[in-house]
Symmetry: D2
């Protein structure tokens, strides 16, 4: 599922700037692997809220993460700043698979990249639901031509 | 790479008890997906330190995460307690692939499971190194008969 | 507001066991100061849910933190386990001040101690409300004789 | 020790921009109290590294937090962005007391403010040491005229 090579910025469609925090660094002096997944879900949530109308406090249909993965290629360390790029690989009836690339400072290639799968569910019953239309439209803008 | 089905406790060889924390719960009232990866690397570090003699403050050879992944099957929420089971899938010259299962309270099947790959490197040069012998021996105890 | 000296276990009334996690350690090899506050609010939430009937998903009246503080006396490091002790200093109409001590492994004196103030509010309006009776009763059990 | 009132931006001398992350929000839909302390120590570390020459990977003399405190005045929630302002209240031989204010988006008054005390120690012995001269000079620039 993972790309063999680091990815360029042109492989992504929407971007978020995510500065690192002091406590992201672990005992080895690098951003701990766990925090990369926070960059992933922050970038995705930014996009869904800004472009898809998701309201995490009130929306009846919300996204649950059902699978994620990251390949770590090059260390990042506070006070580096991360630019997270996202694209959409596949849109299903009630699910979407994102691919995310993390760029350190001005780097042109990903320091880490991976994927993240959302299933949309009704908040109360937690049963899967079709993607709300504004979200589907927003996600279609993240499909890459080659896909 | 992921199992199709939840895994039983008998599929793992070493276990750590990892209570959840209040702030692990996110706005949807479940443990956020990011924290699962902290359960993964805590369980692995516990084992390497306890059984393999890893000293994160001083060892010349340390493990860097190069890839990880999780499939989320069932929600967990504070104040649930997690039991993390680990096993080893493959041991290479300088790398090891772990598989981890997370069990909610007394559940017999995983709420989430995934994998995590360590490459061992020299702390200063960050160049890959063969697994230190005490670590290799400890990891061999986590291989499953079926493997 | 802080005690001059480390506190003994006998200075607290209810206890939670809180193992550290790998990523709690920061670049200096100690549990980062930020995480101590997670031990504080986890210990308090445990108690309110277990003894006071707080249901964070549904209760109409919930607690917001309005002030907290910690004095750090001695370093703690993963894989240490923390025992958090709590007591109540003062109960008001809609607020409560807790004091918390964190004990490293089997230590008899606090490695860190501090306080935490909750104001109880109606979930929707976020206006302050009197402490719900079951919570008030549970908190009274945490008052120390000397107080 | 805490100000009675929210503080204005003019009460601080150096600023860092710190976007919130999805997982900062807790079950009540606000940034959890714990994360505010990460804003505190990130803002301070930024300044010490940028202006005082602190190198967390190598410096012989490093800062340990011995006390911190925060008063929470108004909720903040992802995707708000925080501007952290810092000033210095007191410089001792081997310690410094910072005061920090957190501003939500374009707000003119603090949503939260507090203090943080560093003691500088020799990395290996963990014995207190005089403030390194470049750090002392950088910190003097954060003293407020009124002090």
């Amino acid at each position: 599922m993972h790309a063999d090579q680091p990815q360029p910025r042109s492989a992504y469609r929407a971007f978020s700037l995510l500065p690192t925090r002091w406590m992201d660094n672990d005992i080895y002096g690098h951003v701990n692997n766990v925090n990369y997944y926070s960059f992933f879900d922050t970038a995705i949530a930014h996009y869904l809220m800004r472009e898809g109308g998701l309201n995490p406090w009130k929306s009846e249909v919300i996204g649950f993460c059902v699978e994620s993965s990251c390949r770590f290629r090059k260390a990042v360390q506070f006070p580096d700043s991360i630019t997270a790029g996202i694209r959409v690989k596949k849109i299903g009836r009630s699910s979407v698979q994102y691919e995310i690339g993390l760029f350190r400072n001005d780097d042109e290639e990903t320091s880490a990249d991976g994927y993240f799968v959302h299933v949309f569910v009704e908040r109360k019953s937690e049963k899967s639901k079709p993607l709300p239309e504004p979200i589907r439209l927003a996600l279609m803008n993240l499909l890459m031509p080659a896909d």
